[in-house]
Amino acid sequence: MRCAAGAGLVLALAVPFAHAQIRVVHVLERGEFARSAALSPLPDDAPWQPVSLPDNWYLSRPGAAQAGWYRLPFDLSPEQASAAGSLYLPRNSARRMLFFINGHRVGGNLGYGDPGARSWAPPLITNVPSLLLKPGRNVMQIRVVAVPDLRQGLTRVMLGQGTAGRELYERRYATQVTSFFMFSAAALLSGLLAAAFWIRERSDTTLLWFAVTALAWAAAAFPWLHVVLTPPAFSQGPLAFAARFAYAAPMLVLCLRVAGKRWPIGEAALWTFSLAGLALAWFLSEDGQGVVITYWSVTYLAALFALLIVLIRSQQHERRWAFWLLAGALVLAVLLNAHDLAWWMGWIDYESYQLAHFHIPLVLFAIGATIVDRHFRAVAAVERARVELEGRVAEKAREIEANYAKVQEAERDKTLARERQRIMADMHDGLGSSLVALLGSVQSGRAALPEVERRLHDALQELRLAVDALEPTDGDLNVILGNVRHRMRAAIESSGVRFHWQVEELPQIPSLTPKAVLAIQRIVLEALTNSLRHARATDVTVSTRVNGSSLQIGVSDDGIGFEEKGVTPGRGLESLRQRARGLGGNVEIRSSPGAGTNVTLRLPLAAH
């Protein structure tokens, strides 16, 4: 983007100097002038005064609009005289011009009434047929009607042979007119684009100001290029001023907005000066518009300069390339406007190019680049923010995961601790107390060896049952009951009873804890052991029944039985009841002497 801007600037500055190399047959720059409103060439005895061109009437003949004649002699060789050529003037510099060669009219300008000519001053060309030329001395006479106040007058006249004059004309036309046209077309497009963007994004006023500036400039440039639209004479001065005002004031505001600078006093001054200029233009006659243009040129140059200073001072800390681009464009704008002001004041060559109007596309380009840069920086910032946000989310997710892992670990630790506690309690109540009791019996010498062996065996059985309770049975009651039978197998078979296993298909209770499993197994084990050891039974039956929401496990025998009331609440029976209560159920023991014993465990199914 910077390269393109640089190339554009170089092009705009280099083109004016390019035509110096083209050879011209005659440059008419010395002759005579006589003041006269006559419509045909003046005779030799008219009050001719010597004059040299270019002749800027603002400097040489100030005052009201007037008419006069120039007489410019030149010599031609016979070959030169026999070739057709053209008359070329770098600037269409007067309200009315008529060209005569050797007394014959060859052409003139199409008029200078259009206000656009004030800002872009196209060159002028007229064909010269060879018929009018003669070898030796020739005389060109030019009638000029001009307004001195508008810096009208006559430039040098170049007589070119063949296409030489046209080449000069085309070069100058390309710079002064065609480039202007192209820039205004570009301004029109970018203005429309900015307007479209602004409609989508109303909050961005820089887009609005950009659109206004570009469109106003394109509109100001458009009609003057095509002379089609010629406004009425009385409004030409105010219109010319209003056209400049319409693009220049928004442009200055736009520069402030882009720089992020609020400067209400400056803006107020801008509008005040602009309106004052408009009023001035309105009240002055067409011939007096020179004052308005002076007013405009000076105040605008001052405004540009002030803007440049304000911009540089306000952007001291954050100077990105976009800033330098805008500052560069403004410096060029100041230089171009200063150049045209100098021309206006008559300080530099009368034939100089008019350059000021190039500053608008330059500044618009710089501002457009700034807006685009800002846009992409905003996009990049959003992207960065998104990436950062994603990073933070990921970090949070990791934290949550880590926390979750910690919680799980704590949960596991808690479960382990609970399990350890349970096993400790089991050891304490079951194996521990059995071994302590046994140790007591052995120490006191009361226990006989077979008794010790039996009780040790029971303790081991107890331990195995505790180990079994740790196996994953998924609350399968059939497996849990079956396991008791399996552990009791040797005892059952060596007791010689007829054993009946009437266990139906039982529901699974997955929530059954190892503790509950062990409790159920101990109850059944104890009931079975009693029946096998003490009942002297011939038949022992284990049966189950699911009754609605409760499960019944029965152990019955046909042994000797006992007197329910006569039996002191022994350890065995009482511990059965306690365990059943721990399970949320109960144990019913029915027995009478000689009628066997019936132990029934009832468990609620829903509770587990």
Binding site: R464, D468, T473, N478, V479, G482, V503
Partner: protein
């Protein structure tokens, strides 16, 4: 009545002595060898094996499971019983997979040991309900028998095998199971032997799968 020859692998001297005396006390049993370590056992059982081998799982040098695997491969007719304190699921299942046919509880009463050995000669020591259930879970019965792939015959249960295991897991004895299913106890034993074989094959294929997964076999 033919005498059953028994060999014993047990590192604890007292336990070994107690088991030995229990075996000697039975006229139908003959103790032919005693080994205190796994390596001794492997050397002694390489060429010939007794009818019944009792192996402790916790040997000082090599695992009793290895001894069981070694003997099961070389002498398929030898019935192997591992000696365990608890007869807990993990150990017994591993023993069954290694080729054992049952287990003997350490600390059993003397006549129980003879009883267990007799059981295994009759077709296998009783499977505990917990282990039967575990075997059922491991060797799934396919939902649709006709969809069964040929190689699954080796490792999955037939419907009848599943029924037998189910009955055992509910606490029924072999005799009761046979009666419920309308077959003889001998048939139950035959089925169980087949189940044990499948369990061993299953553990091997699982080992192969595991090894190839770890990149040990290609």
């Amino acid at each position: 009545m033919a005498v059953t020859t028994v060999a014993l692998v047990e590192d604890d001297r007292d336990t070994r002595a107690r088991l030995a005396s229990s075996i000697r006390a039975q006229a139908s049993l003959e103790l032919v060898a005693e080994y205190a370590t796994g390596t001794e056992a492997l050397a002694g059982l390489d060429s010939r094996a007794p009818d019944v081998l009792l192996v402790d799982l916790g040997l000082p040098d090599i695992s009793g499971l290895e001894v069981a695997r070694f003997v099961a491969e070389r002498h398929p007719d030898c019935d192997i019983l591992v000696i365990s304190i608890f007869g807990d699921e993990a150990n017994v299942l591993a023993a069954l997979e290694a080729g054992a046919r049952g287990y003997l509880l350490k600390g059993s009463l003397q006549h129980d040991i003879a009883f267990d050995i007799q059981d295994i000669r009759n077709g296998g020591s009783p499977l505990s309900p917990i282990i039967a259930r575990q075997v059922l879970k491991r060797l799934q019965v396919p939902q649709d028998a006709s969809a069964r792939k040929p190689d699954e015959d080796e490792t999955s249960l037939t419907a009848r095998e599943g029924e037998i295991l189910n009955a055992i897991s509910r606490g029924f004895s072999y005799a009761e199971t046979a009666q419920m299913l309308g077959i003889s106890v001998g048939t139950v034993h035959t089925f169980l032997k087949r189940i044990y074989r499948k369990l061993a094959v299953h553990s091997k294929t699982e080992a192969v799968f595991e090894a190839s997964r770890l990149g040990l076999i290609r």
